[in-house]
Symmetry: C2
Subunit: 196 residues, 2 copies
Amino acid sequence: MITHLPLCSIPNPKKVLVIGGGGGGVLPEVARHASVEQIDMCEIDKMVVDVSKQFFPNVAIRFEDPRVNLVIGDGVAFLKNAAEGSYDAVIVDSSDPIGPAKELFEKPFFQSVARALRPGGVVCTQAESLWLHMDIIEDIVSNCRDIFKGPHVDFKNPVNPIDDSSSKSNGPLKFYNAEIHSAAFCLPSFAKKLIE
Amino acid sequence: MITHLPLCSIPNPKKVLVIGGGGGGVLPEVARHASVEQIDMCEIDKMVVDVSKQFFPNVAIRFEDPRVNLVIGDGVAFLKNAAEGSYDAVIVDSSDPIGPAKELFEKPFFQSVARALRPGGVVCTQAESLWLHMDIIEDIVSNCRDIFKGPHVDFKNPVNPIDDSSSKSNGPLKFYNAEIHSAAFCLPSFAKKLIE
C-alpha cells in the first residue's frame, strides 16, 4: 500500500525515492510500475539490507533491478542534497519516531521532501497507527498542510491503476486493488474529525 | 460494525436477535437505531453478562433498555425454536469456532437463521480473520450462498444510514460512518478471488 497508493495516484511516475525500506519489501512493488525508470533508495542501516538478502532472497532479488540505486546513508541528509523537483514520488518506509527515524516525522524533513518533488509529485509515509498515535498523525497532517501547496492530487480515485500485466515479473498482486485503494482513504469517525 | 453493517443495510429494522454478545458491546449500537422495537439476546454464559455489568457499567446499562429481552441459553436451540420469519436482523457476536461456539459456524445454524429471518432480513456474523482463517470464511460464504436466496440486499450502499440524532442518548459514533460501511466491503485481492 505504501507504494501503490502514491504511484497509482499520479500518471507515469518515472523517478521514485525510497527513504528506508532496506528490508526490500517496497522494491518489488515499485518495480511493478513499468513507467518507473529510476528507483533511488537511501537506507541508513546496511545490516537491514544484508539480512534481507540472506533471509528473504525472493524479495531482495529486486536490489539487482538495474533501475535501483541503493545508497547506505542518512535519508535526511540525502534529501537535503537532492536536486529540486527531481522526483515524482517519495516513499518513506521508516521505523518508528524513536531513535534514528525521529527526524523523518518532523517538519524540516517534509520541507526537504516538498523541495525534492516536482510539482504534482507525491509523498507517502509510514505514519504509525490511527488507534494509538493520533497525536503523531495530527502533527504530520498539520505540517504537510502547511508545506504541500499543490497542484491537487485526487488520491481517492487512482488515475494510474496497476494492471495484471505487472504480474508477469512479480507474481499477482495479493492485497492491492483499485477498490482497496479508495477504501484506504475512508476514515473512522474519530480520525475523520481530526484529519479532515 | 457487526451491528451497523446489517442494520444500516435494510430499511426500518424492528426486531433484532443477538446471539452471544453478553459482553454488552453490541447492545448500545443496536439501541441507536430508533426503528428497533425489540432486541432479543441469547447469551450462553451468564458470567459474561455479570462481569460486563460489574466492570463495564457504561456499556452494560443497555441491558436495562426496555426493548431488550435477555435469555441465558444456547443460541442454536433458541433459533431452532424461533418463529419463522420473526426477525429483521440476526447478529452473531460469538467467540471462536472451538468449544461452545463451534455450531455457530456450521451449516445447520445458518439454516435456522434463514428460517428465523423475514424475507429481506439480514445476518451478520463474527467470521474471524481474512489473514488467518480463509478456510473458515470460505466455508461460511459457501454455506450462506446455498442457504440465503434473497431478495437481494445491496450491502455496499447503506439504505438506512445512522444519523447524528442517534448520538443524543449514546454519545457520538466513534468509528462507524457511511464511508466506512462501503469500505468494509472492499476486499484485498487474495480474499476477493476466494469470496466473490
